[in-house]
């Protein structure tokens, strides 16, 4: 759904898939494997302002909590409500049904600070 080869990645393992000034965000396949068994995701509310690199969501596995850093700054315009009842979607399909939310970017140049798929893949090998 959000082809990882078309995504840009933060060093903290979030991905961003841009369509114009709207970017869909989630966590990488590597991150979902590392976190493992995700049982709760606390997402920001639609309308919230998020800042690139700042924690704006929490991912809880059975064992531990992990912060989700916004890959870009802007306003949250839609959240993936399916994760409320089925957080395991993040493990099953991190680039598909396990997407987190959509941001209307205040500065699309934010994405330049992120890595492309090949560069990201090298960091997690």
């Amino acid at each position: 759904m959000f082809d990882e080869k078309q995504c840009r990645f933060a060093a903290s393992h979030e991905w961003a898939f841009a369509e114009g000034e709207v970017v869909t965000v989630g966590i990488s396949d590597y991150a979902q494997k590392e976190i493992s068994d995700i049982v709760f995701v606390e997402l920001p509310k639609a309308g919230a302002a998020v800042t690139q690199g700042k924690a704006c969501a929490v991912i809880e596995s059975v064992k531990a909590a992990a912060d989700f850093m916004a890959p870009a700054s802007g306003e949250v315009i839609e959240v993936n409500d399916a994760l409320v009842d089925n957080p395991a979607l993040v493990n099953q399909s991190p680039h598909g049904e396990g997407w987190f939310f959509k941001i209307r970017m205040s500065n699309p140049a934010d994405l330049d600070a992120l890595m492309d798929f090949e560069a990201y893949r090298k960091t997690v090998q």
Binding site: S36, D37, V39, E42, V58, E60, V62, K63, A65, V84
Partner: protein, 365 residues
């Protein structure tokens, strides 16, 4: 602790080969999970799983005064019937809990205590001090044994394939059964709330047993399990984790284990102090908490009633069988009654919860 100083069990290479994700657990390099905590948890509740518990300690107490020493060391009344084990707490002079352990009577003058990994050394030192001047020999055998816990509804059938006669071992019983030229100690015990057995063998023997279990366990639904699912299973089952939910600053009464204290029996270490502390009354008791709202509680989360803090969780997790957050913590008296409404602070947010008289789910054993 530097990872180069981590101890490894005899099964280390096999655990890694089976996909174990290894972590530092009280100085031992142990698997936190294999396939995943949720799938391992489910396997133990519906089929069976195997846990390496070789890091736990073994102490043999032998001689004419062995039973006398076992009784002095423990606040519970300890069975002297061969083949029977008793769960108990070992107390310090001031009534604080030094460890919780099961001690098996192997013969009227020979006992085996299975102690926690983190307290293995201090327990043995304590036992030795108490054994001075009486006719008992202590044998610290932890390094000579590996141990596997096979747990789950299918575990008895699987274990019986290797150890005939296990059907006749009562719960909390044990038997010595031949295995590969040695005598395995097969115990009808566990830490999951499911039926199952724990088997102690030499380091070589435990490796052979693991290999056979992996080869033949599949049709019983056996999967290797790590410390992660061990913790979710035991917490749902209402079992104490020493070092987290109890330590030397707590008495069995505060740890909600008053049932292991037998004040009527002959003297045991800590009895007088315990009686005094009980007389004075307690201000905190280990109490179960179940979330009513969403979120995952963790050890260290504070518990509230309105603006008043009523305690702190010592263990907490997402409970896979209940699909909600659960935990235990030392709470103030106003939160002791079951179904008392409280709030748990998770990442700075107050989540609705209620107190529960454990276990959190009905155990199969």
């Amino acid at each position: 602790m530097n990872s180069s100083f981590l101890a490894r069990t005899p099964l280390f290479d096999r655990l890694v080969q089976a996909g174990g994700r290894m972590v530092d657990f009280h100085g031992w390099e142990m698997p936190v999970q294999f396939g995943g905590i949720l799938s391992e948890h489910r396997a133990v509740r519906t089929a069976c799983g195997v846990f390496d518990v070789s890091h736990m300690g073994q102490v043999f107490l032998s001689g004419p005064d062995a039973h006398r020493l076992v009784e002095r060391l423990n606040c519970n009344r300890m069975s002297r019937e061969p083949g029977r084990g008793t769960y108990s707490h070992m107390l310090a002079d001031d009534g604080g809990i030094l460890d919780d352990a099961i001690t098996f009577c192997l013969a009227p003058d020979r006992f085996l205590a299975i102690v926690n990994a983190a307290t293995d050394e201090t327990d043995f030192d304590w036992m030795q001090r108490q054994a001075e001047g009486i006719d008992v020999q202590l044998d610290h055998a932890s390094s000579r044994y590996g141990m596997l816990a096979v747990q789950g509804p299918n575990a008895p059938a699987l274990v019986a394939e290797f150890f005939p006669g296990t059907r006749d071992i009562p719960r909390f019983g044990a038997a010595g059964i031949p295995y590969g030229g040695e005598t395995a100690i097969v115990m009808h015990t566990g830490y999951t709330g499911e039926d199952g057995f724990e088997v102690a063998l030499s380091p070589e023997g435990i490796g052979a047993f693991w290999d056979e279990l992996m080869a033949r366990g599949g049709r019983h639904g056996l999967v290797p399990c790590g410390l992660g699912s061990r913790d979710t299973l035991r917490l749902e089952a209402g079992y104490l984790l020493y070092g987290a939910d109890a330590d030397a600053t707590r008495t069995p009464y505060e740890a909600n284990c008053g049932w292991v204290v037998k004040m009527q029996k002959d003297d045991f270490i800590g009895r007088e102090a315990l009686a005094r502390r009980k007389e004075a009354g307690f201000t905190e008791k280990l109490t179960g908490v179940r979330l009513l709202g969403r979120g995952v509680p963790r050890a260290g989360c504070s518990v509230w009633q309105g603006d008043r803090p009523v305690g702190t969780l010592t263990s907490a997790t997402f409970a896979p069988s209940l699909q909600t957050g659960i935990g235990v913590g030392y709470l103030a008296p106003e939160a002791w009654a079951p179904a008392t409404r409280v709030e748990v602070d998770i990442h700075g947010k107050r989540i609705e919860a209620e107190t529960v008289r454990g276990p959190f789910r009905k155990n199969s054993v």
